[in-house]
Amino acid sequence: MKDFTSILAEAIGLIFAGDADLIEIIALSLKVTLSAVVIACLIGLPLGAAVGAFRFPGRTLVTILLNSLMGLPPVVVGLVVYLALSNAGPLGPLQLLYTPTAMVIAQTILVTPIVAALTRQVIEDLDTEYSEQFRSLGVGPLERMKALLWDARYSLLTVALAGFGRAVAEVGAVIIVGGNINHVTRVMTTTIALETSKGNLELALALGVVLLVIAVMVNAAVMGLRASAVRSAYA
């Protein structure tokens, strides 16, 4: 067996050589993850903002539910989506199982509660500050939601990036509903799991390095955004 240094050297060689398989896997990973995050934001941002800004019966229950769903076990989500999309399931006729769409659905289910729960907290804090001024001005519910979402934009970008971080590193759900099919549903995390089990450690490590770089970039972006927001006093 090769030593770690030579495996790492070959892995880095694969990255810099622009290996076609590697690029394809990275591209699919980003496509699936970004799609899931965009959909999760479209659902989670207004949902979280509504729960954060408005008082209604059952609000505490919804908040507890959203917070609890943040810790959804990915394999359970994978299993439920699998059952729903399988031929015997209610969405079987759509023939989505083992497609990137199925992976997007699973990731969206995982990320939406994270986006919604964090958004609720951000919006609730901001609404506490703005509430009297908005009522004094006579701001309507829709305008209020729009204003809160806009004014919390830097914090909400951080929320979206947190969702991205969760989705891009996810393996349990996407391997169940995607099947890890070569050139079809193979993404970074599922490839790392497969190639490690096959002993093809160079490709696995190369993807691991890319994942780490993405994680670092996401964190740097979060910090940069926060710093920029604080500097301009929008935070």
Binding site: Y130, E132, Q133, R135, S136, L137, A147, D151, A152, Y234
Partner: protein, 267 residues
């Protein structure tokens, strides 16, 4: 007995003033305003009339209920009992839109100075050229033209308060509530705020202002409502009340003495 109780529930001391103009119908009136929170009575059967075009000051020691009274009159807090009427009718959405309020700590949106003004005017349905005109006017009034594109939250305390005030005035209110707008401001900033308040009053805006500043009360006040322990201890023309308070609570406060007695007690 009934008469005695009725007397107690009314403003305790009204100082007559021959120089005052005949009383117009109140623009805003509160009757029997009582507010209880957590078993504590914070406002106690307050009756108050705000006459159009007048500058009414609300004064009293900390915890007297001044800010709460403003919030109840503006409809931000619902009283436990009693009612607020606007031009003789219950306070509704339209009435609220004819009012504006500036808080002790100005609430600045996380936007530029211009965007703060634009948002408030947009809420009031103003668009296009008219909105632009009002924004330019407000910036000029507040002398914030040079800072128009700056984030509002980086402005100094005085600049933020000026912006909050012209933002409220840009909405063209008939009545403006001010909750200690110059608290913790330096004399120059205080003067700028007072100038804006005075200009608004000259244009016919009715003013209701909470202040702790006796000098300011003399400069800006027409009428004065003195609260103690959530009740109206005394009300009347500002100058007269400040020169010769009839209630022990107001007298003690003006003399800088501690007064813990019955809010209804007058001498």
């Amino acid at each position: 007995m009934r008469e005695a109780l009725q007397t107690l529930s009314e403003p305790l001391t009204e100082v007559p003033d021959a120089s005052r103009p005949p009383l117009a119908e109140p623009l805003l009136s509160g009757r029997g305003l009582t507010l209880e929170i957590g078993g504590r009575r914070l406002l106690d059967a307050i009756d108050i009339d705000i006459r159009p075009g007048r500058r009414t000051l609300v004064m009293g020691a900390n915890g007297a209920g001044k800010s709460l009274l403003l919030r109840v009159l503006h409809g931000l807090v619902s009283p436990t009992s009693g009612h607020v009427h606007w031009r003789g009718r219950p306070l509704d959405k339209a009435a609220r839109r004819a009012q504006a309020m500036v808080f002790q700590r100005p609430v600045m949106l996380r936007r530029s100075v211009v965007a703060n003004l634009s948002f408030a005017l947009g809420v009031r349905g103003l668009r296009g050229a008219e909105r632009g005109r009002r924004i330019a006017e407000a910036l000029e009034q507040a002398r914030l033209g040079d800072l128009a594109r700056r984030p509002a939250r980086v402005l100094s305390g005085g600049e933020q308060q000026r912006l909050a005030l012209v933002r409220a005035l840009a909405c063209d209110p008939e009545l403006l509530f001010l909750d200690e707008p110059t608290a913790s401001l330096d004399p120059a900033s205080t003067q700028a705020i007072e100038r804006l308040v005075d200009d608004a009053h000259q244009r016919g805006v009715t003013i209701v202002m909470v202040t702790h500043d006796l000098g300011q009360a003399r400069r800006l006040g027409d009428d004065l409502v003195f609260l103690h322990g959530g009740r109206v201890a005394e009300t009347g023309p500002a100058q007269k009340l400040l020169d010769a308070p009839a209630s022990e609570a107001a007298r003690a406060w003006l003399e800088g003495r501690l007064y813990l007695g019955d809010p209804g007690m007058t001498t």
